[in-house]
């Protein structure tokens, strides 16, 4: 069992975290005709926007209440009101998701109350659903923002259970922020193959996947429709992925009575088996042939791939649920996790990571830990490139942001198929690094007596291998 170590450093060097409002914005982008709106200074939006654009290589409709000095002193409510009216007038969105930033939260504004009053006195806003999540930058990271926004959407837009609601062959899915559009698409296919209709909240599979549309759309390009969200009580079951989606799942269950299962990960053979058997049980149908075939392919990939994972020393830094998921994957394939760094420390699954210590810290903690442990692979987002260069260790890019690779929306890691492709990606990375053997690789073959040791300082075995 791992010990969670909260670093007591005053400075964060090479931050691992992305901010909570950005997580909320990504969730809001998974709603049809949606626009995320940051309540804060324009820089908060500008930085987040640029980062999101670099990651997705897509136009991201992210707006700001543009609080200036006067608003900072007197309060941001008039800015919020003007921003909402402007957005509705200019872009005609169906949905606006507001995420508060550190600036308004530090002022201690009652943004929720402000929003209520604004909606009451402006009939122009009646046709647009407006949701607000409290996401100060100084608390939590991407996962917290994504989860808060999802909870806020559920609380405001889902119709609570009533006797008149009939159940349908519907499954609600609450994916975590670490699920890519391709992951969501893959899940949809798995669920549909059992005859269920999946309602996925938030659904970035057609809004952030990167595709060309027939005309210019100023809002999100796809996503969960508002009517589907309203009707989530119709489902027979809810599937949530990642511990950070437990709170939204609980909120949804409390509101609708639909039972929920929270998967800590859907990467790997065993978690995929649990998902598929849950669906088989719920649908009373046999597992479709295609999934059986995918499972067989995954098992084969694990056999082919395990040669390249076994004994490899891996250092990972990520948001907690992604960290949990990847650690389980790597150690399950025979690699050992030598360094694990989480962006935040509240996730209860962190202690299950097969490593001595999980550090809640930054990429410098990853770099220091990896250097000390002699890691052979760094696994984190694109900002790990500095550490990778300095250490001369390859970097596998995961999570957010990935701004120096293409196609990140199409990287799949869940289910049999996703796990299979993840195994190949990693194994190929290791294969690319493999080198021809040379005599000096075999230092440990030299008989012990031939080694000149400094007395008492080195045990012969460890010295010889270094």
């Amino acid at each position: 069992m791992a010990t969670i170590i909260q670093r007591r450093k005053a400075v964060s060097l090479n931050p691992l975290k992305s901010s909570a409002p950005l997580g909320a914005a990504l969730a809001y982008l998974g709603i049809e005709k949606g626009i995320p709106l940051f309540h804060g200074a324009q820089g908060c939006t500008s930085f987040a926007l640029v980062l999101a654009v670099r990651h997705f290589k897509e136009a991201i409709p992210l707006q700001t209440t543009a609080m200036d000095e006067v608003a900072t002193v007197l309060g941001g409510a008039p800015n919020l009101e003007e921003a909402l009216l402007t957005l509705v007038r200019r872009m005609k969105p169906g949905f606006i998701g507001v995420a508060t930033t550190a600036l308004v939260e530090t002022r201690g504004e009652d943004s929720e109350g402000d929003l209520r009053l604004i909606l009451e006195r402006n009939p122009e806003l009646a046709d647009t659903k407006v949701v607000l999540a409290s996401t100060p930058d100084y608390a939590g990271a991407l996962e917290e923002g994504w989860a808060s926004a999802t909870s806020a959407i559920i609380r405001s837009l889902v119709e609570p259970w009533s006797p008149s609601i009939r159940s349908f062959q519907q499954i609600n899915v609450l994916p975590g922020v670490h699920q890519t559009p391709a992951d969501i698409e893959g899940l949809r296919e798995i669920i549909e193959s059992f005859g269920f209709y999946p309602v996925i909240l938030p659904d970035t599979s057609y809004s952030l996947d990167g595709h060309i549309a027939d005309s210019w759309v100023p809002t999100s390009l796809g996503g969960t429709s508002l009517s589907e969200i309203a009707n989530m009580a119709r489902a027979v079951h809810t599937i949530a992925i990642g511990e950070h989606m437990r709170a939204p799942a609980d909120t949804l269950t409390a509101l609708t009575g639909v039972p929920a299962t929270v998967f800590s990960t859907l990467t790997g053979l065993e978690p995929s088996d649990r998902l598929v058997s849950l669906l088989a049980r719920l649908s009373l149908r046999p597992v479709p042939g295609r999934l059986r075939r995918h499972r067989a392919q995954l098992v084969d990939a694990m056999l082919d791939g395990h040669f390249h994972f076994g004994g490899k020393k891996v250092a990972i830094a990520a948001d907690p649920d992604l960290l949990v998921s990847l650690s389980q994957f790597f150690s399950g394939m025979g690699a050992s996790i030598v360094t694990a760094v989480a962006s935040t420390g509240s996730n209860c699954n962190l202690k299950n990571i097969p490593v001595e210590n999980v550090v809640v810290g930054d990429l410098m903690d990853l770099e220091d830990g990896a250097a000390q442990a002699g890691a052979e692979l760094l696994v984190t987002h694109s900002h790990g490139r500095q550490a990778a260069e300095r250490l001369g260790v390859p970097l596998m890019r995961v999570g957010f942001p990935i701004f120096d690779r293409l196609g990140v929306s199409h990287e799949e890691t869940v289910g049999y198929r996703g796990t299979r492709s993840l195994i190949f990606r990693v194994a190929n990375q290791f294969l690319g690094e493999s080198h021809a053997h040379r005599p000096e690789d075999f230092g440990s073959a030299i008989p012990a007596s031939a080694i000149i040791t400094e007395e008492g300082r080195y045990a012969s075995g460890t010295f010889a291998t270094h």
Partner: protein, 481 residues
């Protein structure tokens, strides 16, 4: 907000070095250069962003951001300001303050500890500390913390007081300049000083552009004393006051620095550009003239003219093969500030047609220059809503869009070539050499066969007209007559 910061901003809005500012009335001047932001329709960075952009290229110092995570966490290591050596500036350092720090008022203590940790780990020649909205709001006095730390650690700790809410990027540039004037420039002496020393202000060495210009200067024997701040070392900036001439390249971003350096140390300055062949030659000419007036050998002027003749010819020779391919191609130029007018002249040199150029961030001075270049002001647009730009490009009003990353996808989704000419770009476009690169890149983009392929409708789509495409009421872009 601290009174001193207010006073500083008011003072910045009174800029005798800026013609636009001088022309304003008392009241208009107080409002600053940028228009008030409209909530819900604002784009662009904040003052903190601007300050960071202006100072981040100093390569051997640690840039420490005092604020909650997002300010640094969402934006670090994101520009291609290149370095010829130290890489310390690429580290993203922030105090990442938490709720507890805010409630307990621990911000200043945390900042001080953070500075100590940074110094213990890296021993940098200086630390530049940036305030942000939240830490300014809770009243953290970064100036006092920096003073104390400078004394305690014996390393210059420079406070940059430009919290995001005080204004735009441009204001942030200027506040960063003020920090340099107050705490850095003039605090050290250069190892060598010659009558041929110059500074370049507002050049950030994006994608290494400085190195396209530096060889030209070296050829003439002109020594770059300090570039503020592209590929700069701290001691270079600190001893910048010994240069003989200041060249200001990013329009008015650091005009306050140029003017005050003239007041304090008698260094003349001029505004020039290294974008475009003619502009580069003009800049070199002015540099030579001012240096000679400041005491450099008179032969510099002659040598400069000779270099210009040779380099212009070399550039044109290299451009010749492209002229035929590019002449008549229509360009929509959508960017702000300095790049507009300097690139307009560059493209016109190639016989390309500028169908429209935006002047969103340009000063009146910039606008006049564009007007002179293009003859009339019919083609200057303030801003084009994305929807409208999409329709114009989709309709084929322009052959290529040159802009920054924000509008990249408007062009790409309209299946139109696009080239990055803003700070995130990967190519260097400065000097004679940069112009050749720019034109080569333009040609590479325009001649890519992919455009024809992606514009083709799927075999099952209607051959006449495209489904769902609506450009009704969108004005057409009119080429210059």
């Amino acid at each position: 907000m601290a009174e001193s910061l207010n006073a500083k901003i008011t003072a910045l809005f009174d800029e005798p070095g800026c013609d636009a500012n001088v022309a304003k009335g008392e009241k208009a001047r107080k409002k600053g250069c940028s228009k008030p932001l409209q909530p819900g329709a604002a784009a662009g960075g904040c003052a903190f962003d601007g300050a960071k952009i202006a100072l981040q290229p100093i390569t051997d110092v640690v840039h420490l951001v005092h604020g909650p995570l997002a300010c640094e966490g969402n934006g670090w290591d994101n520009r291609h300001a290149a370095t010829s050596g130290p890489i310390l500036y690429r580290i993203g350092a922030t105090t990442d303050i938490t709720e507890t720090d805010i409630i307990m008022g621990n911000g200043e203590k945390r900042l001080y500890r953070a500075m100590r940790e940074v110094i213990e780990r890296y021993a940098p020649p200086a630390i530049i500390v940036y305030s942000t909205c939240v830490t300014a709001l809770i009243g953290d006095d970064i100036g006092a913390v920096c003073r104390h730390a400078t004394e305690k650690f014996g390393i210059p700790c420079i406070p940059v007081n430009a919290p995001g809410f005080v204004g735009s990027k441009n204001l942030g540039n200027k506040l960063a300049g003020e920090a340099l004037l107050d705490h850095v420039i003039g605090t050290m002496e250069p190892e060598v000083s010659t009558p041929m020393d110059i500074n370049i202000l507002g050049e950030y060495n994006l994608s290494g552009e400085l190195w396209q210009v530096k060889p030209l200067l070296e050829q003439l024997g002109i020594r770059l004393n300090a570039c503020i701040t592209g590929d700069a070392r701290y001691h270079e900036v600190a001893s910048a006051h010994r240069a003989r001439v200041n060249m200001m390249v990013c329009s008015t971003a650091l005009i306050n620095v140029a003017r005050k350096m003239e007041e304090r140390w008698g260094i003349p300055y001029f505004e020039g550009s290294f974008y475009g062949i003619g502009d580069t030659s003009d800049a070199l000419r002015t540099l030579a003239r001012l240096l000679v007036a400041q005491g450099a050998g008179a032969d510099l002027i002659e040598r400069t003219e000779a270099l210009i003749v040779a380099e212009e010819k070399r550039a044109w020779d290299r451009l010749e093969p492209y002229r035929e391919r590019l002449a008549g191609k229509r360009v929509l130029l959508y960017t702000g500030g300095v790049k507009s007018w300097s690139i307009v002249s560059a493209l016109q040199e190639m016989g390309m047609v500028i169908v429209s150029t935006s002047v969103r961030k340009s000063t009146d001075n910039d606008k006049q220059k564009i007007k002179d270049l293009m003859g009339g002001d019919a083609h200057m647009v303030d801003s084009i809503p994305p929807r409208e730009m999409y329709a114009q490009l989709r309709r084929g009003d322009a052959d290529i869009l040159l802009s920054g990353g924000r509008t990249q996808f408007v062009a790409l989704k309209a299946r139109t070539p696009w080239m990055d000419i803003n700070q995130e770009r990967h190519h260097a476009f400065a000097g004679y050499d940069g112009m050749v690169t720019l034109v080569r890149e333009l040609d590479t983009s325009l001649s890519n066969p992919v455009w024809e392929d992606v514009r083709r409708l799927a075999p099952w789509e209607q051959e006449d007209g495209e489904v769902g495409f609506d450009d009704e009421g969108v004005p057409a872009l009119v080429p210059i007559g």
